[in-house]
Subunit: 874 residues, 2 copies
């Protein structure tokens, strides 16, 4: 028979997959001889089997639970359901990865009317026993039956009110008896049946309920946010109860081996005497700092301190522990690697290496790359945040915290910012025209659009805070208001705050602060750089972003989107003129006017990045994105061009597309308007020659977007080469440059061997590749993706985390075929996935040369690349 | 040294790839001892080498030409450029596939001032020699230099006018000398240099010019229309001139071994005495029917008749021959398989089998599947057509000919048709709301949209004539007019005619006629059915189309698009109600009202097709396609639903998508609104049970569209299975059904092994798969695809002909992986490619079970499938 249940004596810390983190660590502490209340773990496999078995506990699982229970009875010399020496049990979830508070717990199982009555006599502590009983009833009703706690809590409040007391602790034994009795009645009313007196039923139902809680809404959401597959399942830990609420000599607490906020090497935590764990959480009484235990119970404190140290040394990481003192005896209820602030994570990792306790590799693996984000952006002041209530939640599109006054257009935002106001730009969705406004805003809030929408991508590029796709809010940009689900309306100039790391939107201004980065950060990142094989570049469209990226350690620019250079007011006019041109000559004339700007941009970009490589992508978006939308702008354009408003409107209409994502864009523009590619080549090469003259080393990498056939690539490459040659002749000097392509269409991946014969490099545009492979429009998918997550059809946003099965296979195919045709071809990723740790690991595995991501994600990518290399070596 | 030049004595008919069709056949006739003017062929490889060599003839090619010329001189006992015994040459193109009139020819090479002068004396035929010389000058100027013929022809007209004569033949020898001299002057003016007197230069320049003509605009267009790759190149045939214009005893003609219009077994053709080939074409003198040659020159006629018969027997197909009689001696200048009308093709193929001359397999291979189209649709009366001039050309979207009066809206078209008028529906583009109007129209003309646009697909399904994407025309639907490029305007009720087989639009009403189908057609198609392995199904959305398809030999329905059933006025209201619903209950209520219609449709469809299979695709398009666009319809909907116009508009706005093709559609609808899939399952299953009760055998195949992940499929399949079970229980009976999916996303193809574990069948939706693989929106790609064809980046419309390299590889991957997981999985294609012969051959090769196409393409598919099977066997 398959083994579904392990006693704590049978497991160890390496069995997390099967026993969950909590179960494995309880077993490990048991193995180490620590004082742990004994029990057993029902495995994660039993959880999966429960789901396969139509959400029923299998008979095999049940009988193994009974066996384990029997052994536990022998070990403890107590008996489950026996009134004289009752074994009381806690039942707690415990998944492979820590998911604090996401799943359910029931305590005090094994109590019923008969046991409670007799056990009060045996213990001579009626108050304690009936307090435990009433807690069991309420928790059971909640967890097993799904009934709200409200009725119970309301009743408790009424009893206290009637007695004129404020705290539970002031209730006496008889009150508890009465309350337990009342709770049973409430339960019976709700359930239409008596609270179960059969203790085995209590146990089985609870185990099943904990399995069920693996798929409650918040657990699903948490898994998605933290990249935990639903297939892992949760284990269930059944453990003898110990009580911190048995009197003055009892207590309970939590502690960390180091300060989780700062990383200081000091025992850090708090405890409450005569209390159960939930009382600490409830916050009715103020717990004492752990240091005070040294005076309260010096021996216990000494013992705990020693155990803490042993645990940290054993686990080679800072530990987060729960303990209970039951009648003067210390019990360890849990230990796990403690959650910590990013700053603390770095300090602890560096300190542990310096203390000789862990290796550099371990230190690097111990820090979550994603957490580095928070070190580089403003955060809310914690106290101010506690007072605030979110009014809506959108997507955590670009991290950081921001507070300011609402403006509904880029223009007004800029105006207000120039007048010294802090501004939040609120838009239905942003377009390239909003970029300047975004630069002036503290943060950006959009109602539509996903994690890779324009607003999200641009904000991440700038390192600005952004909450996108906040569909809970209704917006009226004309009348300048947003409205929350419950009808609160916010108008222009009203203050709001955004948390781009959680997606939450708050009313009012919440104070923000800049986290300080210690020297440990430098040390830590230099270790990462020594370990990694993948190079890390940044996506940067302007010198400012490029400098920022370099500061964060970028080793080049992996993607410069030239179109972002066209939106400044003086440039957009000539660009629009180019679009409106009806002859090649007119178009060339307009392009001639754009050339100096573009060239100047490239000069500054090269200067900022030299001698590192700079990848310049040629014009990519469909032309209609550049045309004016507002009537007054259309009129202005018509006037400027000396043509009729109707002509402008006709041209705009003729450029409109049903599916612009699959329309006239990318290299298709260079093919229908070769003069655009010519102008861009002149700018790229002339700028490079200029910078070369200044003694800087630069080798531009020209990237042709959206190639799907070899001939598209060779057609544009020919224009590039020919134009470059002309420039060289004109200037009497030459330099090396590369011409490569973005692989962002499935077809390009499939014919990568053909393209590689002509291309110097591939850069995987995994955003578009994901769109085409799934047939998901990133601008529209938001409408159904949430439903997909809820129904567990997708567990991850494929735009944030690379889909290794589908999209990843195409990338792998392209890598293999490309390398076969040209072994030394340079391969990188420049999609949003270039900043996502799990995707970076994939990029490492399939042998890419570099990833490119937004500047603020560069440190994340450096660490993730190091972790990938270390994991591979192990 | 690589061999680039072959004398006619070195080749044979199987060397078409290298020598082109004309060259190979001239060699073959030489081999057979036929009277052929000798010469040599410069190979297609030399053509490709010319293009690789920057459009220059290689030295190797030149020297081989000189060698061959030398041998020809020895053979003919004449000398190129020698004034006494001048060798005169014709230089003609000849590609692997016949491309009549697409490329260039130059005759009479080898004449210059000196040769002409002396040769007139030798031949004592000055008129003939100078006539030849002036023709050379004009052709050389045109073909080699690219100058217009106008100046030459204008001059000729002036000379005749001055002399008061009408025909060239009335010009005397001195006129010709003068004209040749004048032509040289005109040439010099144009070229800035003398007409080349060096005959070798004439030859080399002409060979190069013929190579160049491989890439002239009309040749590129012809290749695209006829599926000929540009990589084939053309060969060039250099041949001794013979002259039909040497006097009364000379002549020239063309003939077919059978009647190319009817297929009758009779020598068919015409000739002109004392003329060159171009005179026959010019139509100035009326040629005589070939039978008259029996009286004119009985011996020559007898000889020609015998040669004809030998050629047909040798080539085992009807031959199209050119001949010249030079001074009483017959020369064969060309033979090739003759072009013929589709009706003739069938008759000839069947007759040749009956005459025991060819096998059934050969007969099947001899008919172009695409040509069958014309047998099934009305065509223009040839005489009426000759009088008509096209006013614009669009895409040949759905074959057939139609004449009627213009209407600009479906509603008005229906009205007019009910009043007995013949109607052409003219729209910017059609939408599903236009379907009824399309049913009432003789033909449909759209300004936008490609070969797979809504109008094109629906029209092909109906077998109705359609010209789509006629961007040459400007339209104003509000003001009800269309305007041609040259400013002609057509208003409502104006008569026009459409040719859906050529894409041409004509002013006025051209008479149409229905081609008669002979018994030979039945015989022929039954042979095809015996040979093929692929099954052929039809795409049909309603009983009428299904019956039509069955009549054409469809063996089932491969695609019923259920959404097309929702557009009738009484249905669309409930459907819109369903879309507007804000709760599941409202949605279910609206669906309940739709159920009876849908069920009824399925009953009729099963009845029409039983016992053949019917594939029913669940709701696919995004919901916004069903919502009203016009203001009055929006008001009506609001009134009907008792909600405000604003609410309707808000809902419409909230459903709007940036890229609907990649939006909330396909199985994504069934996942967010499971009740739609439930209703459709009830309709499918209940209808099947009903039909089963009538004693008919039916096994519905339910197709889930746009699946990209396994869980999408299993989620919807679960709904289907559960609902079907409920229906079975309710009716107390059950039946077999299948649940499969469309493979139309790249990701689905890549994970086909996973999907196959649950799916009963795959149907490749190659339209969408092409869109996603290329990143082409079929509604928008028209804007740049023409440029792609012109620049030879693409040679074929990938929506019409399956891209075997990219899209085909994904299909192949899916077939392999799907079969590996489930060897007996049923595999078909239901995209537009299912009716395209070359794509059908591909489907056969990769082992699909069936193709499905629009009803009128079923015969094409049957023949193409037979050809694929025969080719494989050989």
């Amino acid at each position: 028979m398959h083994k579904f249940v392990y006693s704590f004596q049978e497991g160890n810390k390496d069995m997390k997959d099967l026993l969950g983190g909590k179960g494995a660590n309880l077993a490990e502490m048991t193995r180490l001889g620590f004082p742990v209340p004994q029990g057993f773990t029902v495995t994660t496999e039993a959880c999966n089997w429960y789901y396969e078995n139509d959400e029923k506990l299998g008979e095999d699982v049940k009988s193994q639970i009974l066996d384990a229970l029997h052994r536990l009875e022998q070990l403890t010399n107590k008996k489950f359901g026996d009134p004289n020496t009752p074994l009381l049990l806690s039942v707690r979830s415990g998944a492979r990865a820590s998911m604090p508070g996401m799943m359910d717990t029931v305590l005090n199982l094994g109590l019923n009317d008969e046991v409670a009555l007799r056990y009060s006599e045996v213990t001579q502590n009626k108050r304690f026993v009936y307090d435990s009983y009433r807690r069991l009833i309420q928790m059971y009703a909640d967890v097993v039956k799904g009934y709200s706690k409200d009725a119970f809590e309301k009743h408790l409040e009424e009893v206290k009110k009637a007695k004129g007391i404020q705290y539970d602790i002031d209730l006496d034994a008889d009150d508890m008896v009465k309350i337990a009795d009342d709770f049973k009645k409430i339960y019976q009313e709700m359930a239409g049946e008596e609270f179960p007196q059969e203790v085995i039923k209590q146990l089985f139902e609870t185990v099943a309920a904990v399995f069920r809680s693996w798929n409650n809404e918040r657990a699903i959401y948490y898994r998605r946010m933290n990249d935990i597959p639903s297939s892992w399942g949760t284990a269930v830990n059944v453990q003898e109860m110990v009580y911190g609420n048995r009197g003055k000599n009892s207590g309970t607490g939590v502690a960390f081996t180091r300060n989780p906020a700062t990383g200081e090497n000091e025992l850090y935590g708090e405890y409450l005497m005569n209390a159960q764990g939930e009382d600490v959480v409830a916050g009715i009484r103020t717990p004492s700092p752990i240091s005070k235990l040294a005076t309260d119970l010096p021996e216990i404190y000494a013992q705990f301190k020693e155990l803490s140290k042993k645990l940290e040394d054993h686990y080679r990481d800072m530990q987060d522990m729960e303990f209970t003192i039951d009648n003067g005896k210390l019990y360890m209820l849990q230990t796990r690697n403690g959650k910590r602030t990013p700053a603390a994570a770095i300090k602890i990792a560096v300190d542990l290496v310096k203390e000789g306790k862990i290796s550099v590799e371990e230190a690097l693996l111990n820090v979550d790359p994603k957490s580095l984000d928070a070190l580089l952006h403003p955060v809310f002041n914690l106290q101010s945040l506690q007072a605030a209530k979110p009014i809506a939640t959108g997507l955590a599109a670009s991290p950081g915290a921001a507070a300011g006054h609402i403006y509904f257009s880029a223009k007004e935002a800029i105006e207000a910012h120039k007048n010294g106001e802090k501004v939040i730009l609120v838009r239905l969705e942003t377009s390239p025209e909003d970029i300047e406004g975004m630069h002036h805003a503290e943060g950006v809030l959009t109602i539509r659009g996903g994690m890779t929408s324009h607003a999200a991508v641009v904000a991440r590029g700038m390192g600005a805070c952004c909450v996108s796709g906040c569909g809970e809010l209704t917006i009226n940009e004309d009348e300048k208001w947003i409205k929350t689900k419950d009808g609160q309306t916010f108008y222009e100039k009203d203050p709001i705050s955004l948390d781009g790391s959680t997606g939450k939107v708050y009313a009012g201004l919440i104070a923000t602060e800049i986290p300080s980065i210690s020297g440990d950060f430098e040390t830590f990142m230099s270790w990462a750089d020594q370990m990694r094989r993948l190079r890390v570049r940044a996506n940067a469209d302007n010198p400012k972003d490029a400098l920022q990226a370099k500061k964060f350690g970028a080793e080049g620019i992996g993607l410069c989107r030239t179109e972002h250079m066209f939106f400044e007011p003086e440039r957009i006019f000539n660009f629009r003129k180019m679009i409106m041109a009806t002859t090649v000559e007119e178009r060339e004339k307009a392009l001639e006017a754009i050339l100096p700007y573009q060239k100047d941009d490239f000069i500054k970009l090269y200067q900022a990045m030299a001698p590192n490589p700079v990848v310049i992508r040629y014009l990519d978006p469909p032309l209609h994105e550049f045309l004016p939308k507002e009537e007054d702008e259309i009129e202005k354009l018509a006037l400027d061009l000396h043509i009729s408003v109707q002509d402008v409107q006709d041209r705009i209409a003729s450029l409109r597309e049903f599916n612009p994502m699959m329309g006239h864009r990318g290299c298709r523009l260079a093919i229908t308007y070769p003069e655009i590619a010519k102008m861009q080549t002149r700018a790229v090469i002339e700028a490079a020659l200029e910078v070369q003259k200044q003694g800087l080393n630069v080798e531009p990498e020209i990237m042709i977007p959206l190639v799907g056939t070899v001939k598209e690539f060779t057609y544009v490459k020919e224009i590039v080469d020919k134009t470059a040659q002309e420039v060289f002749e004109k200037f009497g000097r030459s330099l090396k440059y590369q011409v490569g392509t973005m692989i962002e269409l499935p077809r390009a991946a499939l014919i990568a061997d053909q393209i590689a014969q002509y291309a110097d490099f591939f850069s995987f545009g995994t955003n578009d590749l994901t769109q085409m492979t799934f047939g998901f429009s990133r601008d529209d998918a938001g409408k159904f993706l949430n439903e997909y997550y809820d129904k567990q059809i997708l567990e991850q946003d494929p735009f944030a985390k690379l889909d290794q099965t589908g999209v990843g296979e195409l990338v792998t195919i392209a890598v293999q075929r490309g390398r076969k045709a040209k072994p030394n071809i340079s391969l990188g990723v420049c999609g949003e996935h270039g900043g996502d740790p799990s995707s970076i690991q994939f990029c490492h595995q399939i042998g890419l040369d570099y990833v490119s991501c937004s500047p603020f994600r560069v440190p994340i990518a450096r660490l993730a690349a190091a972790q990938a290399a270390i994991k591979e070596r192990r």
